[in-house]
């Protein structure tokens, strides 16, 4: 699905953001792309989508070179940016205008998603709130049925009930040949939705594992006293949040704790 080979990239007059980054990802996953502010998450997404050109290296999406931006590549990928402006037209006019670019578009699914998000197709897009615009773009993205859907901070601006609906709609409407990349700082919003964590830092992928693997290899719990086998701990009102090697049963992954552990130099193989 995604094949990045020896990617290097730098913005003008700035230190390189990525140096020799390689990454291969199969289809049918929902990937959570995590990293600190300025780690280059959005830049990496834009490179994958062909919106930026690498200094060196190659990015293949479904064996298309993303820099070539061929029509058959562009119709298989949909990018929802974190911030965007919408034209001053009605929602259904926008839909009519953009449907022809996406051969797998599912209009029935779109109507269904728009209803679930409680949006009104008659409304002028530029007059909607930021959260409503975002929900519309997410609904549109899912309805394109593109093989690759990229969501950059999708839950920013969404109210509390909408975050639950967002998870239900993404989890319920994907088909086997689709891949989703979600970049986010709001890991709690997507904790049950993603099945893979990729962490970028200092221009490299420093962690890349499936949630199920992590949940079987490590124990995440809250305890009163630190045991001997603790790998990482943080203070908590009840005692400590800790990670230890697993002793058999699977454990619900605390992604924030894992993130902090890795940022503090702990390695999880």
């Amino acid at each position: 699905m995604i094949n990045i080979k020896n990617l290097s990239f730098a913005y003008k007059k700035q230190a390189p953001l990525f140096q020799d980054l390689s990454l291969t990802e199969g289809t049918g996953q929902i990937i959570g792309l995590l990293g600190k502010n300025g780690a280059g998450k959005t830049t990496l997404l834009q490179l994958i989508a062909g919106m930026l050109t690498p200094a060196s290296g190659e990015i293949l999406v479904n064996s298309y070179k993303s820099t070539k931006r061929e029509a058959s590549f562009l119709e298989s990928i949909y990018f929802v940016p974190e911030e965007f402006t919408m034209p001053s037209i009605k929602m259904w006019d926008f839909i009519e205008a953009f449907i022809p670019f996406y051969p797998r578009f599912d209009k029935q699914l779109l109507d269904d998603l728009i209803n679930k998000f409680e949006l009104d197709q008659q409304k002028n897009l530029s007059k909607m709130s930021h959260g409503q615009k975002k929900k519309f773009r997410i609904a549109f993205a899912l309805a394109t049925r593109c093989q690759l859907i990229i969501l950059d901070e999708p839950t920013n601006g969404l109210d509390i009930p909408s975050k639950t609906i967002f998870r239900q709609l993404v989890a319920g409407s994907l088909q086997e040949d689709q891949t989703v990349i979600i970049s986010t700082h709001q890991v709690k919003d997507v904790e049950t939705l993603i099945d893979k964590i990729i962490l970028v830092d200092n221009g490299q992928v420093i962690f890349n594992q499936s949630i199920i693997d992590i949940s079987e290899k490590y124990d995440f719990k809250i305890v009163s006293h630190l045991p001997d086998n603790v790998l990482y701990s943080e203070l908590n009102p009840m005692g400590y949040n800790i990670v230890t090697p697993s002793i058999g049963e699977s454990s619900e992954v605390d992604i924030e704790l894992l993130f902090n552990a890795i940022n503090n130099g702990k390695t999880f193989n």
Binding site: Q29, I194, D195, K221, V223, S251
Partner: protein
């Protein structure tokens, strides 16, 4: 060391939930369990995670896969689940319970509701 919170992995939580519904009779042997897609859409959980739930349940002979149709509760699912729960009880819950009894100096009198229940269970078995 006291453990306050130690949740199982999400695929395991969903498996436990399905088992609970079998024990309560909501799912009877032979019933079709909600599809992977339906469960994903209801719970907002990744479809691969839910696939993993079904692999786990199938491995424990609680559901069986009828190709192209879906997953169905097996005839001996209630017994399998009860056996698994009993094992969990004797290996984890009971030792923790005994530890608390010891720590708090609980007396026979204070545990009377427990003895009453045990007697009721024995009478039922007769």
């Amino acid at each position: 060391m006291m453990e306050f919170k130690n949740n199982k992995g999400i695929f395991q939580q969903i498996a436990d939930n399905i088992c609970e519904r079998v024990l309560s009779g909501e799912y009877a042997p032979g019933d079709k369990v909600q599809s992977v897609r339906k469960l994903a859409a209801t719970l907002g959980v990744n479809q691969n995670t839910i696939m993993r739930t079904f692999i786990e349940l199938q491995h424990n002979n609680i559901v069986e896969n009828r190709r192209g149709v879906g997953y169905f509760v097996t005839d001996n699912a209630p017994k399998m689940i009860r056996d698994m729960r009993k094992e969990e009880f004797t290996q984890e819950i009971l030792p923790a319970f005994i530890q608390q009894v010891k720590l708090l100096g609980i007396t026979r009198e204070e545990l009377e509701p427990l003895f009453n229940q045990l007697k009721e269970n024995e009478d039922e078995d007769k």
